[in-house]
Amino acid sequence: MRDLAELVELNRFVGRELLLWLWFESEVFETNLRPSSGEPCALWLEGQLTLASEGEETRVKGSTPGLAPEAKQALRQGKLPTDTRLRMVLGELELSWRMKADELSVASLKIPAQLKADTDKYEALYERMRLTETFEAQLEALFRDFIALRLDDAWEGVVVPELKKWARGKAIDEARYAALKARVSRKKGKA
């Protein structure tokens, strides 16, 4: 096994690329994401978005920060998202949270829990953990699709060119991208 401390620190920038990819997918598929090992969901960026590169930061605020021209401009300058708020509708659940890319940490996660700790502490805890675990399983499903693409040759060959087009407001070859995702997913399934 790789040294654990080394593994924790290895390629933290991949977290920024995950946020970039979620943002891209959310816009290309009009918020409707279909992770291959999770449930279909709606996901979008909201509230605030921070992009950074080598000490330079761009902060964008607004109801849809991903759509702001300065956000795409920051991408074209080589910055990547480091911190944003996201909202997800998963079946009947609506969740929102802040995500810090380098640690993949979750902050201020709002879940639709019904039970109150003041009436039954452990039942409330159980409900909250169940909802949190449902949320985490969905995040993990999205990450699995992302990392399969990221580790495939197609990332540099197809995905990055599409990301560049998207960052410049050019039309995306949606069908080609969807076909690529399906191919990578099948390949990973066979492996």
Binding site: F13, L125, R128
Partner: protein, 218 residues
Amino acid sequence: MGALRGSLTFSRFFVLGDVPDDLAASAMKKIKANLLEPMSPDEDVNERHGWAAIDDPFDLELDHEKVFFNEYVTLALRVDRWVVPGPLLKAHLREAEEKLLEKKSLEKLGRKAKADLKLAVIKKLRRQLVPVTKTYDLVWNLQTHVALFFTHSKKVHELVMELFEKTFKLRLLVESPGTMADRRGLTPSEERVFASLEPTSLASASEARAAAAQEVAS
């Protein structure tokens, strides 16, 4: 906020090692041995940490019902710290110094005498204060081997990792892009690809140059 109320802010940890089947029976003694021991003003320690009940940091009478709930282990890391306000310490120290100089007919105190006096004043002031208590919830799912710890503070992460290992003889590994990829079960060739990844940039060379020039100009 913690595990029981409000929005949730947490770091995800993976529990490494084999969890014994009889954990609920075998771990209680060790949990009790690692409960927070309240500090007394006369002790030389400034900070202490240990387990407490989730949702009630002052409940140090843990039993099976308070800790084990279905597949979850629920605990709180409690950290107590003496915080003597600087201006209060300064004022009392000046007064104590003056009294000591007068009593011993001295003009100045040596370094060691000053340090001893400061410690004595701190201990005296502690008797008028209570330690500052902070707690951080830990919820460990025994089926998934995932523990959620409700803070992002790296310093507090170190405390819980050390205490968890001491209590359960199991290690906690914090989530990161690297650990999340690793858990997905990379093939050896994917591991090599992952290790050699370079960050993606969407900048074109000309736009990157223009951005750099703009930054220099500003």
